[in-house]
Symmetry: C2
Subunit: 204 residues, 2 copies
Amino acid sequence: MTRQGLLLVLSGPSGVGKGTVKSAMVKQKIFSFEYSVSMTTRKPRPGEVDGKDYYFVSEDRFQEAIANNELLEYNSYVGNHYGTPLAPVKQMLKEGKDVLLEIDVNGARQVRKLMPDGVFIFLTPPDLHELKHRIVTRGTDSDQVIAMRMKQARKEILMMQDYDYAVVNDTIANAVDHIKSIVEAEHVRVPRVIDDYRNMVEED
Amino acid sequence: MTRQGLLLVLSGPSGVGKGTVKSAMVKQKIFSFEYSVSMTTRKPRPGEVDGKDYYFVSEDRFQEAIANNELLEYNSYVGNHYGTPLAPVKQMLKEGKDVLLEIDVNGARQVRKLMPDGVFIFLTPPDLHELKHRIVTRGTDSDQVIAMRMKQARKEILMMQDYDYAVVNDTIANAVDHIKSIVEAEHVRVPRVIDDYRNMVEED
């Protein structure tokens, strides 16, 4: 029996830098994640390869995939649909491979329902930490800007509730370090490893 | 409002090297833990200072401490009692300080009941990992030795169930590294930090 892989979901409010953090994780090669290929109704751009960059499908095929529960999560963005096929993710996890999904908060909510054992990381903007300070000192921001940011911050904190970890994206290096610790810690969580141990002392 | 400190409980079967790992953690100074001073009925050894190494108390005082629920956990060892006073631990956590307790499995069970939010690490002997291999290859160990070790291993795995993390003590450096990752990860767990975030956007 192989130990089940870890599903890591990296998410957060738009503009927080999820994609940049993911790229840094891929570049640093400190992780051994598998990446799932998304399905999309968007037309391929020059150089993009079907099955590698995306699975490029028709609107009908995408709707069929939704109807057949083939997608772990899906979303629309400027008129195109994007989704994560469920079967390859399940297969990789079963083979003991860790899978990283970098998706928006709506996608993360869908994944949590289907795969509650995943590890959900919420990337937070650094200004959430500085907000209080800025309000107290009243710097260059107008009252209106601060009020808007406060409203947004409250929304972000509501989203955070459904996650396991909140990592501040103050610098990419710090965020990646924290994610590394989280992955290492999750790899030795008792519910994930105890079957391995049991297997060692099984009478067979 | 200060963020509550982290209570880290380092435990495991006797002989696994809990004390050595704790000493390495203290020496490396990568952690900023507070250490609680235990209460004991053992007589002070030359050089030991009351209130620093231990609180040296009489049998009556120890029994009174138990009766008054003053102890977070207690145990007996070769005729002497040892216990962890609860009040200083609670005070340190309230002040936002992380507290490390290195205790045996009975003690850890008692702490879990009183402080379920603690982080419980079970240190496992490396031979638990090698056991299956040794059984398959039949090295120098006699059948009897292997059978005894298997029985012990099953007991250890039963203990492990109540812990959050299982860390193999194959080398002290590896064990300390894993504990470091666990502490870093636990520091950004959403249930521990969300009140801080809420506090930032509170209207006051």
